[in-house]
Structure formats: structure tokens, C-alpha cells
Symmetry: C3
Subunit: 217 residues, 3 copies
């Protein structure tokens, strides 16, 4: 009982930190493009709730942020923080990276669990977990007129997919749900941290031109 | 009774003018990028129905334009007008600006009322009003590969949000629905007109680099 | 009976080839922008299932790809093919063009039929057919930060719309459903092939500047 309360509290704390870090990510990217405060807020919201909203629309559920104003408020706090102390935030780069990764891992699991609750098969749930964690960043880049960074070079969504497969595997082995979620969470974070630490990335696609150049050169 | 008919007729007229002005906005932006007729039509449609469609999908409603072909037809008329008399339209800049603002205000109220009809709380309704009025312009800029102008410098969505708060406040005070809608409409238009007239805009977000430069300079 | 089986098999084969060609289109465009494997996969998926997903969300249906993993698998095969033999694929340009056109025509008909099954009127069904066939390519271009090519110069979506009108006309004349679908399919393909063969395109929209220049020059 006590454990359950601790877990729920920890989960809420991570969810708040994750949402906050996602919102910060959107707002800081908007600042780099000289968007105004409203634009910053919209980009922050897009990262914080974009993925989950796409998931919910495809599941036929009411978008999660419409049932609780905490996400709207959390993004507003993030905006105030960027406006008031953007200089001090620079020193917190590593903290944002950690929160963002925790958010990715938590949103992935939330996406998987909600999809399973809606009766979807596991392969759909893994995709939904990936969308929940990653699609917000893609929407941010589209709003900012950038090429989406997670489609070009970062191990980000793949960490989420790997965590999803771990969740699936452990579920098939009838491991307890809490341990399953915890291990999936840890794996997602670990892959993301290690990929950034050791500059691991997926190979780029080659174009026909380059292939010819390599062959002829 | 007579008053109600007058109000309904006025509302339909404004809705048609607003849809038309929104479509014109999309088509003219597409023309600036040398899109073809079909691209112009798609951009016009995106502005005219994009916001309301996102709202309806999130509310779990059938998108409004699927229940009445008037929006599709109205956009086709706008396309014909741009193709046939784009030169004469230049002189109508102010008229388009006025229609566009009327459209923003009306779409905002329509979005709020539909959300309340679907049982959403007021804070969701205000967001939906803002999405109904503003999201179409963002979709247009995404299709055109521009940075969304309302996220960078214009007081546009904020006028819609302000109108939404007025609607909320008057509803709490049990003001009659028609007066509530009218005042909300007027406030939204007034803020937009005044912001453009006096070049008022929201502050831009500062990047860390700029802050450093200011500090060191 | 035998005929029905043949038709169903032919339809499945075309659907698979069309999905494959759509996925290849997304992946190759991603390669031209140096996206990584994951980015290529996402762009491939976007083209293959994007249009149908938008249609299903607007119809209030569960997105089709969530009911059958074939589309996810088909895109994965397309990704492997691009990675392993992208050089040899260059020689297949014409084959991809043919498959892509077959896919456009088939997806158009699938979109029309599903919309009619959901009780939509014909004018909505034609739009949905066009969205099913064309929207994926627009999403691809948005992800790649390009101006959508089908909005600028290509006869692509218009072939789909024309096929939709043929479907409508023949249905009104009580022509058998299979013949209706077949003729609609052929017309869509024919328009696309002829437009590319004879470099036919829609007129571009003119801007006010150009009109002035022409008038003054």
C-alpha cells in the first residue's frame, strides 16, 4: 500500500518534470527562431502534449490534456521560467537533458499502457508509445520550419521503441507490471544516455548520387 | 422572434464573409509561392476549415465541413476571384483585413460554444476557440514552408484568447448569451484592430546568446 | 465466384504494390535529405499510411493500419530494399512511377468506398478519396521541410478527383460497382500518365507584382 503510494507519487513527479522539460525544449527552440511569447507557448505545448494528443485521437479517446489543466499550467510555468531566467538556464543544460530523457521514457510507457487499455495489440502499443514520446518534438520542428532532428541523426525514438520491446517481452514472460514498467523505463533512458554519451547514431540513408560518386571515385 | 432571425442572418453573413476572407488569405499566400490552382485551393481550404477540423476531431465530433458543402463552395468562389481579378483585389487590402478579423472573432465564439455544447470545461473551450480561429493560418504557413507568422509577431491568437476570457467572465455573471457573444466578438475585433493600428506586439523570446551579448556589450 | 477471388487477389496485389511504392517514395525523398534509417522509415510510413489515417480520423474510424500489421511490415521491407540496393533501384524509376500511380488510383477508390460505407455523401467521399491518395505525399514534404510538390506543379491530386467524379457519375447511372471501380481506376491512372507524358500541369497562381510587371512592361 505504502509502496503503491510511493510509486504513484514518483510517477506523478516524473510526469511533471517530463512535461516541464518537454515544454522547456519547445520554448527554447522557439526562442532560437525569435518567436514571440505566444509562439514560445505554442511550441512548448506542442512538445508537451503533441504526441499524446495524436495517440488519443487515433485511439478514439478524448485527448488527455482536456481532462486536467496541469499540462497547460505546467507549460505556462516553463514559459515564465524561460522569460525570467533564461541565462541561468544555460547552466542547467544537463538537467534539461536528464528531465527530457525521463519524460521520453515515462511518456513511452504511458503510451503503451493506454493503448493496451484500449484493447490494441502489442505492436500497435509500441508504435503508440513511440508516438507519445517522440511526435511532440517532430511537431515542434515542423512549427519552427526545421528539419525534424530526430529523423536526421538522433537516437531518440529508437530508445522508445527498444523500451517498448522490453515491455512486450517482459509482459509475455508474465513479469509483474511494475517491474516490467520499471525495466522498460530504465532501458529507454539507458539507450538514450549511452547514445548521446558515445555519439552513437543510426546510419544515414545514401542517395544514388553519392553511391555513384563512391563507385566512380 | 424577428430579432433572432436578424441575428441568425447576420451570423450567417459574417460566417460566409469570414470563411471567404480566410480562404482568400490562404490562396494569396499560395500565389506568393507560385503554387498552382490546386495548391491555392488546398491552402485556402486549410485556412478556412483547418482550425475547426482540429477542434472537431479533438471533441470527437464529425468535422463541421462534412455536414454542409458551403465551405468547399465558398473556397472555390474565392479561388475564382483570385484568379480572375487578383489585380483589383489589391485595392481591397483593408476589406480583407476587416473580413479576416470578423472571421477570427466569429470562429472563436463558434469554437467556444461548440466545446461547451460538448460538455467541455471553460478553459478547454477557450483553447478550442483559439484553435478554431487561428490554427488554419498555422497550417497554411506549414504547407507553404514558412515560419508561422502568428507565432512570431502578430497579435492574432491572443485577441481570440482575450475574447474567450470575456465570454467566460460574462457567462459567470449570468449575462444573456447573445450579449455575451456580442461583447466577446467586439473585444476580439477591437484588440486585433488596435494591435495592428498601433503596431503592438508581444515581446520576442530572447536567446542565451543575445543575453550574453547585452551583458558583455 | 472465381472472378470475385481473382478481383480480390488483384486488388490485394495492387494494394501491396501501391503501399510499397508509396513507402519507397517517402524513403528516397528522406535519403535525398540525408535522414537516418529511422527518419527514412517514418517518411515511408507517412506516405504509405498518412492519407488513410487522416481519412479514418475524420470519419471517426479506427485508423486502418492499426488493424493489420501488413503496412508496417511492407514499409520495413521497402526500407531494407532502399538500404541494400539503392543503386539498382535507380534503373527502376519507371517501375516506381507506375506502382505509385496504381497506388494513387487504388487508394482513391478505397477512400471513396470507405467514406460511402460510413454514410457520407458523394462530395465528401470524393474529397476523402483525394486525401487518401494524396495527403501522404504532403505529409512527407512537410516532414522533409520541402514545399509540397503536389501543391506546386504536379497533376496528382486532380487525377484522383477526376477518378472520384467518374465513380460518382457511374454510380448515379447504376453501373455495376466493379465496373464503376475499374473505370474510375483506369481514368485516374490515365490522367496521371498523360499529364506526366505530355508535361501538362495546372496554371500557377499569379501574384499582384507579376501582374503589375506584365501590365507595365
Amino acid at each position: 500500500m505504502n509502496d503503491d503510494v510511493t510509486i504513484a507519487t514518483a510517477q506523478q513527479l516524473i510526469e511533471f518534470l517530463g512535461t516541464f522539460a518537454f515544454a522547456i525544449s519547445g520554448i527554447r527552440h522557439a526562442a532560437a527562431k525569435h518567436f514571440d511569447w505566444f509562439g514560445g507557448y505554442v511550441c512548448g505545448i506542442a512538445v508537451a502534449i503533441g504526441g499524446g494528443t495524436i495517440r488519443d485521437v487515433m485511439l478514439g479517446a478524448t485527448p488527455f490534456w482536456m481532462t486536467n489543466p496541469i499540462y497547460i499550467i505546467c507549460t505556462a510555468l516553463a514559459l515564465c521560467m524561460v522569460i525570467l531566467c533564461s541565462k541561468r538556464m544555460e547552466r542547467l543544460q544537463n538537467a534539461w537533458f536528464v528531465f527530457d530523457t525521463l519524460g521520453l521514457a515515462l511518456f513511452t510507457i504511458a503510451g503503451i499502457q493506454k493503448s493496451l487499455d484500449y484493447g490494441q495489440p502489442f505492436w500497435v502499443a509500441i508504435i503508440m508509445g513511440c508516438i507519445t514520446g517522440s511526435a511532440g518534438g517532430v511537431i515542434r520542428d515542423i512549427l519552427l520550419n526545421n528539419e525534424p532532428v530526430i529523423l536526421r541523426k538522433e537516437i531518440y525514438a529508437m530508445a522508445s521503441v527498444a523500451g517498448g520491446f522490453v515491455y512486450w517481452g517482459l509482459s509475455e514472460l508474465d513479469v509483474a507490471i511494475q517491474l516490467t514498467a520499471l525495466l522498460s523505463f530504465v532501458i529507454t533512458c539507458a539507450i538514450r544516455f549511452l547514445a548521446v554519451r558515445y555519439h552513437v547514431s543510426l546510419p544515414q540513408l545514401k542517395t544514388d548520387d553519392e553511391i555513384n560518386r563512391v563507385d566512380n571515385g
